[in-house]
């Protein structure tokens, strides 16, 4: 069996490791090593060389991001590290496993990453619904502080860091990093214009790094085991392992840490046990709600950032949602569009007005009240809510499954209009 560093300590149906158990398993050694033998810039260099890419969905190289933070005595202070633990992408349940299963890995990752950018304060921005994760991470923070890993003069090295937890009051757009920063400042979570980028002007206008949970949890392992080890975990040029998940009507839905580049077929058939009896696969959304559908002919693709992008979709969060042949594709994209319409922050017109309009059209189709011209209306919206025409990626993300569903299953959409009913009901 291949190595699975992120989930090695996670035992099913058992409480997470205590600080003593985590230390026993090699925990906090990476922190000790970095703080006593590596300069902050050397940690960033390691992450850059490992080519760790963001696991929140965008796949941006983490070390490059860190490299934009002003360093040294003249840098604006305080600097901030923020963990994006606002896992609200529909169909996504991977960070939750790490937060609940190994909270000390999260805490060690935060301290180490904060050290790399010389941050004084770190926040963990956690979904309000993740109550158990909040309790466990909160306890891990307290235990780490009591052990001298956190607070003033960590391990006698002179480096100091405070970690605070913010439980979100709930809004999907908080997953977008600049909206998250506004939310952390106590405001409505409306995205900010970029530039300036958070790396130079983020939380309270200070240099800030925002990273996803899974992304950061790789950092201690890269420091401990090295760049070459990290690259070899993967089957492709995109290094490391990946948490892959499957939901929908498969035999064994779940989430697994596998080599980056594991094929969709292996994930679906070997790990998720294949489709439930009597059902055929019709399509998958590979990485949370805001990615384009992939189909049977894509199942042997390696699920990494570059390959999935070349196939016309995105790896996204790596948690795929499966559509079967007994479920209506129009109904599915209606559910997704309803979600995005509800969660639009309302700041820019195409998103605020366009998404509810689309939701009404799709509902009419489902209710047997579709009209000739509806599909052209959808097509037009997919274009005008697309990349570059809205303030942030929310609406383009919403158009990804909708546009690809209409392309692939136009017959199914037309049948709703022709027969004045949903053929699946």
């Amino acid at each position: 069996m291949s190595e699975r560093p992120l989930t090695a300590n996670i035992r099913s149906n058992a409480p997470p490791l205590t600080v003593a158990e985590y230390e026993e398993a090699g925990g906090y050694q990476a922190l000790r090593k970095a703080l006593t033998t590596l300069a902050p810039a050397e940690v960033t260099k390691l992450i850059k060389e490992a080519n760790l890419r963001g696991r929140g969905g965008a796949g941006f190289p983490t070390g490059v991001k860190w490299g934009f933070v002003p360093m040294g005595a003249d840098a604006p202070r305080p600097k901030y590290l923020v963990v994006n633990a606002d896992e609200m992408e529909p169909g996504t349940f991977k960070d939750r496993l790490l937060l609940e299963g190994d909270p000390h890995l999260m805490v060690e990752s935060m301290i180490l990453s904060a050290y790399a950018i010389e941050a004084e304060i770190a926040y963990i921005f956690l979904r309000g619904e993740y109550v158990l994760a909040g309790k466990r991470v909160g306890q891990a923070i307290d235990e780490a502080r009591a052990r001298g890993y956190l607070g003033r003069n960590i391990l006698g090295t002179g480096y100091s860091l405070q970690i605070y937890m913010h439980m979100s009051a709930g809004r999907y757009i908080c997953g977008e990093e600049t909206a998250l920063l506004n939310s952390l400042e106590g405001k409505r979570a409306i995205p900010r214009a970029k530039p300036p980028f958070p790396q130079t002007s983020g939380l309270f206008g200070k240099p800030t790094i925002v990273n996803n949970v899974e992304t950061l949890c790789n950092v201690p392992h890269i420091v401990n085991r090295g760049v070459e080890w990290f690259k070899k975990l993967s089957r492709t040029k995109n290094g490391g392992t990946k948490l892959y998940g499957v939901s929908g009507k498969v035999k064994k839905p779940g989430v697994w840490e596998l080599p980056m580049g594991t094929t969709a077929r292996e994930i679906l058939e070997e790990h998720a046990g294949g489709m439930r009896d009597g059902l055929q696969l019709r399509g998958i959304i590979p990485g949370g709600a805001s990615t384009e559908f992939l189909f049977e002919e894509h199942l042997d693709l390696m699920m990494d950032f570059d390959t999935v992008q070349q196939a016309g979709s995105r790896l996204g969060t790596g948690t795929m949602i499966v559509l079967d042949d007994r479920t209506c594709p129009v109904g599915m994209v209606h559910n997704l569009t309803k979600f995005f319409a509800h969660e639009s922050c309302g700041w820019c017109t195409p998103c605020r007005e366009g998404l509810p309009w689309l939701e009404r059209i799709l509902k009419a189709l489902e209710d047997g009240k579709g009209a000739t011209g509806d599909l052209e209306e959808i097509r037009t919206h997919v274009k005008f809510l697309g990349p570059g025409l809205t303030y942030c990626p929310l609406a383009p993300g919403a158009m990804a499954p909708l546009g690809s569903a209409l392309n692939r299953w136009r017959d199914d959409f037309e049948k709703h209009i022709r027969e004045r009913r949903c053929p699946w009901r």
Binding site: G91, G128, V131, S168, F204, S247, G248, K249, P253, L336
Partner: protein, 154 residues
Amino acid sequence: MLTEEIKHEIEAEAERFERKQAACIEALRIVQMHRRWVDDESVRDIASVLDMSPDEVDSVATFYNLIYRHPVGRHVIRVCASVSCWLLGYERLLDHLIQRLGIAVGETTADGRFTLLLNQCLGACDHAPALMIDQDQYQDLDVANVEAVLEHYQ
């Protein structure tokens, strides 16, 4: 009027930020934890503690899904309405709850026991359908087993 206890809790949160207005969401959460929902008077009181205008506080309060600006029952049921739960038939579960409780989504039972709401993805997609009641999550639900869950909440 905010109690001294609530006020102290808000002020403690405010110290963790560079600007105290940043604790606005924490303040709303604290009030709600004590009072179940946030009324107009609390909005004005939070504004005064954090040196904000009541409208600023309300603009934040009304933005977020988990802040209630209307009264809710003793227990709040939040049914996950996202795509994985949709695929596994959350609508049947929801219809059952609507029938069983005799209320529509957004309403509270006459005895004040339950408020029924929808929630966006609860991150329990491998155990769909799922719902939360207050701070507790329940998974792999259906019309048959949801009844026993409701019994815990009187």
